[in-house]
């Protein structure tokens, strides 16, 4: 089950080498994204996740907010 985390844990995990992934569509990612975040829109996850992400490393996904 994916673990829910908050801001401070994001920073710690990224510092430890986690992959940060934004799953929002293009305009949202291009305008603003977290530093170092990879862009993998939700609709493309199935097709591209295995190529774009390292399964051996932690992955943190985010979108806009909890809504």
């Amino acid at each position: 089950m994916p673990q829910e985390i908050h801001r401070e844990e994001v920073r710690k995990l990224v510092a430890d080498g986690a992959q940060l992934v934004e799953v929002l569509p293009s305009p949202e990612y291009e305008e603003d994204h977290l530093p170092g975040a990879i862009h993998l829109p939700l609709r493309q996850l199935d097709a591209r996740a295995r190529d774009m992400l390292d399964r051996k490393r932690a992955v943190i996904v985010y979108c806009w907010d909890t809504a």
Binding site: Q3, E30, D46, A58, I60, Y62
Partner: protein, 160 residues
């Protein structure tokens, strides 16, 4: 979206998946840096005046008013030790009975705005609503500074 992405990644064989549930909105509302086309444009938090005078609930209007005047301000933000915003005092409130407690004189629970809001949008609103200044806070309610309309205009002229 992110919960669905997180669960899907697990079924795709990713064993160590986390969901930053509060998302980009939370990150930006905390005033943290971002990358992207908007990151280059000045935002409310960049222009907000950090030197806006502040005061506590139990101070007296007279003392606070004198302090604000000395600093060249006609607005004061009421905060606690953590800089959490409780209220605002503008000229009208600062002209109240000098013996009055700030807690009773202030405008409680003011509208505040996030550091990442674009200057263009804030200016549009400030002009439409004839608002000379607006407090900028993080999502925790902490004061970042006071955004003044004149500063927004100057910053946008400089950027164009």
């Amino acid at each position: 979206m992110s919960p669905r992405a997180a669960w899907r990644l697990e079924t795709l064989g990713f064993g160590n998946v986390y969901d930053y549930v509060d998302g980009k909105n939370d990150w930006m509302a905390a005033g943290l840096p971002t990358e992207g086309t908007n990151a280059q444009r000045p935002r409310a938090g960049d222009i907000a005046r950090k030197d806006v005078p502040t005061c506590g609930l139990t101070e007296k209007v007279g003392d606070v008013s004198a302090r604000a005047r000395a600093q060249g301000w006609d607005a004061v933000v009421v905060v606690n030790d953590e800089r959490i915003v409780f209220g605002l005092l503008h000229s009208k409130e600062l002209a109240a009975d000098p013996r009055e407690l700030i807690e009773n004189a202030m405008r409680p629970g003011p509208s505040t705005f996030r550091p990442f809001v674009s200057l263009h949008e804030m200016l549009h609103f400030m002009v439409d609503h004839k608002l000379e200044s607006a407090p900028i806070t993080t999502s925790d309610g902490r004061l970042v500074g006071m955004l003044r309309q004149e500063d927004v205009v100057a910053a946008m002229k400089k950027a164009s």
